[in-house]
């Protein structure tokens, strides 16, 4: 697929760099997507369309000038490029434009069944099957909602360094939320499937999985007691996903925070920032994983970046801009939500690598604590490193065994403090999926971790009233 021919691209780049500048770029996007919502037993909404558009970027003396719009008309784009160039001083020598080298980036996740070849009826059926499975799972499941999404995202990047690359990424998602009710108690359970795959995702994972798991978690929540408040030893199961690594260190290692020395991890390359048991990578090359990309949204090939090696800080996550500012190489982490946005350093698939402890022994080692099986959303304050994340499914640990379920807990800690305190890392590994928000831009990510023991962390919970 070709989103723009070379001679048109050259004309735009020439207009963009007419008064100078070190870098000019055209970013083209065509995103064909379908979103289907089932709620309250009804097929409520189907959204299907193509969101296409283009953005132009001119970098001069470290200042960025940016335009985005949804017209692909060549003359319009030349006018906008000239307008951007007009921000530079008059009489500048035109900036260099390298010979364009057309390349098709091979898909990081080979697609077996393109979503566009599947008719709407079969996509709708996935939601009905997930719903039936959830409602059949338990009579207390009183409500179920689910959404299906697919996206076939074609990206073209043409820049003055000669990059003329094209990539197509395919995303499929199925999200389910079950509500269980007993008397006055109403509890929700969630589960989702989300990968860079085509419709084959639902052959590998039947939609019933989403319904049954969401219903199971809702039932556990119904039986759960409010989480206790205070400081506890916490075991994060590998099943819990990776929100912790995402919040406790991932964001703090993004190059824009490092470059301006805003992050608690800034200026600490080569220093011990975590326990020797902790090795963290951000890997954009894992086939099928939600954060994987063939190239980033600036045309830099994807790779696996070693961030923390046995506790020692090795690298940040860079876009072209932040890499240039710090004199490092770009790492393929320059991502954007769409053509409407400037690329910024973002995570892809961020993971703490497996250790050597047996997950069972880690659990058995805790006399009194909290066992987390599902993590929800989180947030971090980059400067202080303070983070929180919400817990979906959790239990008390008593004498090394899983005891009663607890609900509505939040874990509150400080990134480097928590990572340095981790004293057991399991030999297992589990993945979670999510959509990460930063500066108003949402991008698909995955994260992973083994079973971990945190000796002491604040659990936000309920303090019983004293009579």
């Amino acid at each position: 697929m070709n989103l723009m021919d070379e001679s048109s691209a050259r004309r735009i780049l020439e207009a963009l760099l007419a008064r100078g500048g070190e870098f000019g770029e055209i970013y083209l996007q065509a995103n064909q997507y379908t979103r289907i919502v089932l709620d309250d037993g009804k097929l409520e909404e189907i959204l299907s369309g193509e969101d296409s558009g283009v953005s132009l970027r001119l970098v001069s003396n470290d200042r960025t000038f940016f335009y985005s719009g949804n017209s692909l008309d060549l003359e319009t784009l030349v006018v906008e490029a000239t307008r951007l160039a007009g921000a530079l001083e008059e009489g500048g020598k035109p900036g260099p434009i390298a010979m364009l080298r057309p390349s098709e980036i091979p898909p990081v996740s080979p697609i077996r069944i393109a979503p566009g070849t599947i008719d709407l009826g079969r996509k709708v059926e996935l939601l009905r099957r997930a719903e039936k499975a959830a409602r059949d799972a338990h009579p207390s499941v009183v409500q179920f909602s689910a959404s299906y999404g697919d996206s076939t995202l074609s990206i073209g990047i043409i820049n003055s360094d000669g990059v003329c690359a094209h990539e197509t990424r395919v995303y499929s998602t199925l999200f389910g939320s079950a509500i269980a009710r007993e008397g006055e108690q109403i509890r929700t359970g969630y589960h989702s499937l989300a990968e860079t795959k085509g419709f084959e995702l639902f052959e590998e994972h039947p939609p019933e999985e989403v319904g049954v798991e969401a219903a199971r978690i809702a039932m556990v929540q119904l039986a759960a007691k409010p989480a206790p408040a205070g400081t506890f030893t916490v075991v994060l199961s590998s099943k819990a996903g990776g929100t912790m690594v995402h919040e406790a260190c991932g964001h703090g290692l993004e190059g824009d925070f490092a470059e301006k020395a805003l992050s608690i991890y800034a200026g600490k390359l080569g220093q011990q920032v975590a326990s020797e048991l902790i090795t963290v990578v951000d890997d954009g090359t894992l086939p099928g994983k939600r954060g994987s990309t063939g190239m980033d949204d600036e045309g830099i090939p994807s790779s696996c970046v070693l961030l923390i090696d046995k506790g020692v800080l090795k690298s940040y996550l860079h876009s072209r801009r932040t890499a240039r500012k710090l004199g490092h190489s770009p790492t393929g982490n320059g991502r954007r939500e769409s053509y409407r946005h400037l690329p910024i350093p973002r995570m892809r698939n961020t993971m703490i690598l497996s250790g050597t402890s047996s997950p069972e022994e880690i659990l058995a080692s805790v006399k009194d604590g909290v066992f987390v099986c599902q993590m929800g959303g989180g947030e971090v304050d980059i400067a202080s490193g303070n983070f929180i994340f919400n817990v979906g499914e959790a239990y008390r640990i008593r004498d090394g065994k899983i005891a009663e379920p607890i609900r509505d807990a939040t874990l509150i800690g400080n990134g480097p403090e928590v990572l340095s305190s981790i004293d057991a890392v399991g030999s297992d590994l589990g993945f979670g999926v999510g959509t990460c928000g930063k500066d108003g831009q949402r991008v698909p990510v995955a994260d992973a971790q083994p079973t971990l023991r945190i000796p002491s962390i604040v659990v936000g919970g309920i303090v019983a009233p004293t009579e």
Binding site: D39, D40, K42, L43, E44, E45, I46, L47, G49, D51, D62, R63, T64, F65, F66, Y67, S68, G69, N70, S71, R83, A87, L120, G121, V142, S145, I179, Q185, I186, T188, P226, A229, G230, K260, A261, L262, R340, L342, G376, G377, G378, E379, A383, S384, N386, F387, I388, N390, R407, D408, T410, I412, G413, V458, G460, G461, I462, V463, P465, T466
Partner: protein
């Protein structure tokens, strides 16, 4: 944008709908411009310009609705979008109350745009971003780094027309200023953020934005942990805005219909302390989400949601009002032409219990002041359970005596509404679209060491 342009596009779309195999249809046309200028260390970091122009279309047939959109406002582009919307109809379940919204008279006397905004030069925008930054840096030498000092704006218009004879639209403009910075002292880094907005650039207050962000960061320096306990808690206006903004979905009538609201079945019943009155207003001068009509073209209005502790209304669009046999509240919201309309708030307001902030703070002998929270998006609006991270102050005899951090604040929204002891008269509109005042709560769980 010429005044005839949107009418021509609406006419094209109505003509395409007239030919389609449907009972009726609706067009939403958006044409907006956004610009921004970002500065760090007084140097330009980026200057951005965006144009958003496109149509969102709904077709209605026998209780079924199909939605599609297109950035292509030509006759061909529009008929393709109508075809896509029609193709969806057989797959969705019918809902007899889903009909083309009927037109309703409204007054267009709101001041909602500054006509000068489109003419503001890039240099003026950059200067505004620079002023915000210099105010913040001047405020304290402990403000060491700025992540982003920014001016941004949006202007343009949106129009809605449908086959029931409705045709309305309006122009709007907003200018924003914001800054994110870091204060540093003895190896400790703390973030501060503030943002403000107005109809035009001249009404922005760069000094206030810069100073507020700087003081927020400085105030957190030296923060310690708290002891776990149950105590009186004062919430900062911005925290109140965030919490009520998240709670808002419990008032959406569609959530009530689907049993996904903690207020289902409670109309006319007591849901909060008798001193609590909560209002949604779509016509407040100076608020972010103010406009004469909502996303379906229904006139906006003022709706009392909780009246002296009693639940008095939900928020409705055309469909839920018909289904629940009540009147519309002008609460249909659009997130641009790409998205179908859904119920949302305009501006939520807590009515003051008649005291000022100083008096309210003076009511606290021993307690916690919560100045910022983390994790608002994790509040469960169905059960009402929440557990947030927080930073703030230990309070003694009405004074803030010691900054605290890594603190948890947990409970249930229903209990929170019943523990609300006072609301101050310092209502403020935030750039997030929510508003808030200082609030005093009794018996709240605080987690720490």
């Amino acid at each position: 944008m010429t005044s005839g342009e949107h009418d021509k596009i609406l006419d094209l779309a109505l003509a395409a709908l007239a030919k389609a195999p449907v009972d009726g249809g609706e067009i939403y046309y958006q044409n907006t411009h956004e610009t921004s200028a970002s500065v760090v260390d007084q140097r330009i970091e980026s200057v951005e310009a965006k144009q958003e122009r496109g149509l969102g279309l709904r077709v209605f047939r026998s209780g079924r609705v199909g939605f599609s959109f297109t950035p292509d406002a030509t006759a061909q582009g529009i008929s393709k979008a109508v075809e896509r919307a029609v193709a969806i109809l057989p797959h969705v379940d019918p809902e007899p109350d889903l009909q083309v919204p009927a037109p309703e008279e409204t007054a267009f006397n709101l001041k909602n745009a500054d006509p000068q905004l489109a003419a503001v030069s890039v240099d003026q925008k950059v200067d505004m971003a620079r002023r915000i930054e210099s105010c913040a840096l001047r405020f304290s030498s402990r403000v060491k780094r700025v992540r982003d000092s920014r001016y941004s704006d949006v202007w343009g218009g949106c129009w809605v027309a449908n086959t029931a004879g409705l045709r309305v639209g309006y122009t709007m403009s907003r200018a924003f200023g914001s800054i994110e910075l870091v204060a540093i002292e003895k190896e400790e880094n703390q973030t501060g953020y503030s943002a403000g907005f107005a109809l035009g650039i001249d009404d922005l207050e760069p000094d206030a934005i810069g100073i507020e962000a700087a003081s927020r960061a400085i105030n957190k320096l030296g923060a310690e942990s708290v002891t776990t306990r149950r105590t009186e808690v004062v919430l900062d206006p911005e925290v109140v805005a965030g919490v009520f903004g998240t709670l808002a979905s419990a008032f959406y009538a569609d959530n009530v219909i689907k049993s996904k609201s903690l207020f289902k079945g409670l109309l006319g019943q007591s849901v909060a302390r008798a001193n609590l009155t909560l209002i949604d207003d779509g016509r407040l001068p100076g608020a972010l989400n103010t406009g004469p009509v909502d996303g379906e073209g229904t006139p906006t209005r003022r709706t009392t949601l909780i009246d002296q502790g009693f639940l008095s209304s939900y928020l409705h669009d055309d469909y839920t009002a018909r289904k629940m046999k009540t009147h519309r509240t002008g609460s249909s919201q659009r997130g641009g032409y790409l998205a179908s309309p859904h119920i949302g708030t305009n501006t939520l307001l807590l009515r003051s219990t008649g005291i000022n902030r100083k008096t309210l703070l003076g009511m606290v002998a021993k307690g916690i002041y919560v100045s910022e929270v983390m994790g608002l998006h994790t509040i469960d609006p169905i059960s009402g359970d929440f557990s947030l991270g927080a930073v703030g102050w230990e309070m003694e005899n009405g004074a803030m005596v010691r900054p605290v951090q890594k603190m948890g604040i947990s409970g249930n929204i229903r209990d929170l509404l019943n523990s609300l002891a006072a609301v101050a008269d310092d209502l403020r509109f935030f750039a997030s679209g929510n508003s808030g005042s200082t609030v005093l709560l009794e018996g709240i769980s605080i987690s720490g060491s």
